[in-house]
């Protein structure tokens, strides 16, 4: 090949699709695939398969760019769809390139980013790209094999349709750009044709829907620059792979707070648990995950004295902090993530328990709760349970209570641990007697029984019975946590020698 021809082919391949589609990117508030990579990576990366499908007109790089580069000097690999080339659709070489970059991640044991913006399979090429051993299915097989070995981060800039929608589903985290990103198995057009449903793309598979209703999206970004920024922020809490630890950052103090006004003593009055989190972790280090989905439970990453930490906390401001099926799924997945990548876990409990009633029983709240409690049990990273206020019923289990292998259970003076709250308990135990009485006699009887019940679950009694290991003032909690996590850092991590559990789902 002549030097001039080579230059020509390389230039054509790098440019992507026709000019009109580049113009469309601008109109849609999107960046080009090359610009996305520039914003994500350190300068200077190597690319494989630039000349894929170079003999075919209009199929530059076969619609996907696959590169190996660095972020903050750490090696990563990236696959990035090019929406200007046949709408980022997959042909046989597209699939082969994606498989090879996944295999690179496996060999290098480094994080992989999926920059997704694709219409899905090229149906005209289906025999070559869909069913075979190295067909599209292998991409998902590889993702499952990579899961828990290396961080898999998806930035979703456009559609991720039909089978392609499983790329984000198998990733650890999915950042979606509002109004542009979408995930769906069948498009609105197909839904109308096949099941007769008339629905907009935004309602059926839009970014906001997935980040707040389905839970498939983790973080909602207003534009692509913000999505990349969020992806980078998340990456900085993660280690390179399951064998290593996250990089420490310079420690920062937590902001000063008036602890005495933060946590109301009346167990039934909601308060904002975010304020407790912000008072505990290093300043500006809090990074919530799935903030819009099932907000009655808070999960997220932070730094504590410069070390990465995962937090699971109940938010009484939303639905009273009661746990539902979605809250259980959200917490279970986050706990799995932290345990896979050696990130210690802090639980902040203020939970009335799992929701009851016909509706939640029918949707299987018990199996969702079981999934969550299985995740808590199996997590062998250092885990500390802090009972901030109430921890009732299975809520205590969900928040890594004493029976669940936590390294310590710490209670704040406002803590209350019980099968259920005093009102519910007295009603359950003395139901018949209460209903034999009337008026003042009934009220007096209930009051007396509640008083007895409160004495029975008194915090000093719980400490005396060694149910909690330590009781401290909230103002001392941050220092206590720093010290304990430091001491527990190198604990032995074994749970079982079996192949894997039969996980409730």
């Amino acid at each position: 090949m002549k030097a001039e021809d080579l230059r020509q082919h390389r230039q054509t391949a790098s440019r992507g699709g026709p000019e009109k589609y580049h113009q469309k990117l601008v109109d849609d508030n999107k960046l080009s695939v090359r610009r996305r990579l520039e914003l994500l990576l350190d300068p200077g990366y190597v690319e494989d398969g630039l000349l894929a499908n170079a003999l075919e007109e209009g199929l530059s790089a076969d619609g996907v760019v696959t590169v190996t580069g660095t972020i903050d000097g750490r090696t990563v690999v990236v696959m990035a769809n090019d929406p200007t080339v046949k709408a980022g659709s997959w042909g046989s070489r597209t699939v082969e390139k994606i498989l090879r970059i996944q295999e690179k991640a496996m060999q290098l044991e480094c994080p992989i980013f999926y920059l997704v913006d694709s219409a899905g399979a090229r149906i005209t090429d289906q025999i070559e790209m869909f069913p075979g051993r190295r067909g599209a299915g292998r991409i998902f097989y590889n993702e499952v094999r990579l899961s828990g070995k290396v961080p898999q981060i998806c930035l979703l800039f456009g559609p991720s349709a039909a089978g392609g929608a499983y790329i984000p589903a198998f990733c650890d985290v999915v950042v979606m750009v509002d109004h542009n990103a979408a995930m769906y198995l069948g498009s609105p057009r197909m839904a109308e044709m096949v099941i007769g449903e008339k629905v907009s793309l935004e309602d059926m598979g839009g970014a906001r829907m997935h980040c707040s209703v389905s839970g498939l999206g983790d973080l909602l970004a207003t534009n692509e620059e913000e999505a990349i920024r969020l992806g980078l922020q998340y990456f900085r809490y993660m280690p390179n792979n399951f064998r290593s630890r996250s990089y420490a950052v310079p420690p920062r103090l937590a902001p000063e707070v008036a602890w005495d006004r933060l946590i109301p003593e009346n167990q039934n009055i909601p308060f904002d648990m975010h304020r407790v989190i912000l008072a505990l972790v290093d300043e500006d280090s809090w990074f919530p995950i799935k903030p819009l989905f099932a907000p009655e439970i808070i999960v997220g990453l932070a730094h504590l004295d410069g070390q990465a930490l995962g937090i699971v906390a109940n938010q009484s401001k939303v639905k009273g902090g009661v746990l539902f099926s979605d809250s259980a799924d959200k917490a279970a997945r986050f706990i799995n993530l932290c345990d896979a990548f050696n990130i210690p876990l802090l639980f902040l409990a203020d939970v009335p328990g799992f929701m009851i009633g016909t509706k939640v029983e029918r949707e299987g709240i018990i199996r969702h709760g079981a999934k969550y409690i299985a995740a808590v049990s199996e997590a062998t990273v250092p885990k500390i349970s802090v009972v901030v206020r109430k921890a009732y019923g299975a809520g205590l289990y969900a928040m890594a209570g004493p029976a669940f292998g936590s390294d310590v259970t710490i209670a704040l003076p406002t803590a209350q641990i019980a099968v259920m709250g005093p009102e519910a308990a007295v009603n359950a135990v003395y139901y018949n007697k209460i209903h034999e009485l009337e008026g003042d006699a009934r009220r007096a009887y209930i009051q007396e029984k509640e008083k007895e019940y409160r004495a029975d679950i008194d915090l000093l009694r719980l400490a005396s019975e060694l149910i909690v290991d330590e009781v401290i003032e909230p103002s001392q909690l941050r220092d206590e946590l720093i010290q304990r996590f430091r001491l527990y850092r190198d604990k032995r991590r074994e749970f079982s020698d079996r192949r894997h559990p039969v996980t409730p789902v």
Binding site: K319, G320, M355
Partner: protein, 72 residues
Amino acid sequence: MTSVVASLAGVVFKVLVKPGDTVEIGQEVVRLESMKMEIPMEAEVQGIVQEVIVKEGDFVNDGDPLVILVDA
């Protein structure tokens, strides 16, 4: 027209608005009692209360409308 709906099953503990009231985004319009917690139900949009559908002591399920708002 939009309604403020119950975010979980429970009993109406207090109704905090009446027809004709103007409500702001985030304003508590009804307080439910559920799982022994008092749980505020807030307006997600600004508007004027057209109708209060529930009264104190009513059982409501997740998703049931509590208050109907019209544009201010």
